[in-house]
Symmetry: C2
Subunit: 308 residues, 2 copies
């Protein structure tokens, strides 16, 4: 089955201790769509860009199966732009500049052909925009996943709670889970957050892996220990895209299948951080991905024989 994604398509300016990439293509929906394209080429994108966005990047998205009918192009305006600098350890970053541009008054309009999708990924955006997308669906999708961030908890708590009540899978990082639940223990945090609506919760812990919660069950996927993280930008979105792409392709929303989604999402994210921006998400082969997944399996595998 296909996947409908809403989120930013944008430019980033990224400084890391290993280099500086000026005005490269980024945006949550870009990462999500590219990652998901390794699982399904029935992808629909709802976003907005300015006239400054490179045609060859749109052509690339099309070439991997992303339908762009839902992408608004405002010829006389500029695309969303974010500039940031990572600290030496890559685990923290400072925002140097944010120019909303076309995102400032983004009104997500779903083409008719988008309104019956079964799988919906709401990338990190203002909760009101995320809600507008849900409101336009003609039937309740099989699975709605949502990413958000502390910023929206600070300035749009009520709107965020309203949209979270309507989704199935929430994907946030550990800090955000703690802020949302006011609990330090992630187990306690997960219980409180699932009481807000989502039946599934993914807590992303960056270099420490990811946890998937459902009812009283917990699944943990490690992050692959990497010699070098080149650029962490988009890793969380790439995870989300790999996860939802896999789940949509299989059409199976069981906990057991979502575990596999977490593994595929983690595998895609481990590629993403190896180069600047979206570079590493282009041209991967199925074998590249399967090899990476096998590294995850090997990392936590041991020969049972656990008697005492």
């Amino acid at each position: 089955m296909g996947l409908l994604t809403v989120g930013s398509v944008a430019f980033d300016d990224i400084q890391t201790p290993l280099g500086h990439a000026e005005k490269i293509v980024g945006g949550a929906a870009t990462y999500i769509s590219l990652a998901a394209s390794y699982f399904t080429n029935d992808l629909k994108l709802v976003s907005v860009i300015g006239g400054d966005f490179p045609q060859e990047e749109l052509d690339h998205l099309k070439s991997v199966g992303v339908d762009l009918e839902g992408l608004q192009i405002k010829k006389d305006e500029k695309s969303f732009f974010w500039a940031g600098r990572y600290h030496d350890n890559m685990n923290a970053r400072d925002t140097l500049d944010t120019q909303l541009n076309v995102l400032a008054d983004f009104d997500p309009i779903l083409p008719d052909g988008y309104k019956n999708e079964d799988f919906v990924m709401l990338g990190n955006l203002t909760p009101a925009v995320q809600m507008k997308v849900i409101d336009q669906m003609e039937h309740r999708p099989k699975l709605i996943a949502l990413d958000t961030m502390n910023f929206w908890m600070d300035i749009a708590w009520d709107e965020l709670m309203a949209v979270i009540a309507k989704i199935d899978v929430l994907m946030i990082n550990d800090e955000e889970a703690r802020q949302m639940s006011k609990e330090y223990s992630l187990v306690k945090a997960a219980k409180k957050i699932m009481d807000l609506g989502p039946k599934f919760l993914v807590i992303k812990k960056g270099e420490h892996g990811a946890l998937l919660f459902h009812k009283d069950e917990i699944f943990f996927a490690p992050a692959l220990p990497l010699a070098e993280v080149f650029d962490p930008t988009g890793a969380g979105d790439t995870f989300a895209g790999g996860f939802m792409g896999y789940v949509a392709q299989t059409g199976d929303v069981s906990f057991e299948n979502m575990k596999r989604g977490v593994i595929f999402g983690s595998a895609l994210a481990s590629f993403c951080v190896e180069k600047f921006g979206i570079e590493r998400l282009k041209g991967l082969s199925n074998m590249d991905i399967i090899d990476r997944v096998e590294q995850f399996v090997k990392l936590v595998s041991f020969d049972a024989k656990l008697e005492l």
Copy 2:
């Protein structure tokens, strides 16, 4: 086979957000021995205590198989004492008081019956004392493991490097690995540290699990997500005791078997933090431990089916 442990046997005063335990029994060698006792009751302890140490705690150690011939008792002196307070998140702590007492001039003397042990665990102590233990061994043990901390890197770097060159397994936490190697990436840190001597490196990441490195191989064991961490004191020592107890009992120093050691060590550590001090390390049944290990297995298990 048996295990020889050297390390502190002491008193702790522990404040956590959940309570205050005044002058309870602690010390690295206490935690190590108790954890290891679930795997072997051929345990030898080299340490020093004052006349103030409770006889019933010594009796308990004896009852679980710990030989105390190597435990020096200085009747007119006081045992090592540490007081600390954990921060709200339990991931950081402040030392409020340290009284070396009998540890100040500790000279570890191995009884003759200790000098042919095959498995040796050198708990966190001044590197010079750790070296004295190695020097007294009559033959090269099959496996020597060592724990240390940033404090010794700061004040006794050369002595620490000298003893690290003589061991097989180094067990440190992620911050210590970064300080020792001057590398942020744990993969790069591990390579540099193994170049210093140890063939195996365990990097403990607290609530984020533990990594075992050997040559180009990496094994990762998660920490069990817990609703409540009551007192993290001794979790690292308990991990070390479970690990070395298991490896010593099996007599198998292969990487494959050490993976199982890491799982058992993690399981024991997950009990340790559930109550103050050593309380939870008393009276566990084999079934308790196997149940816990099965939770670890379940946490990372997924049904393969990873085609694309």
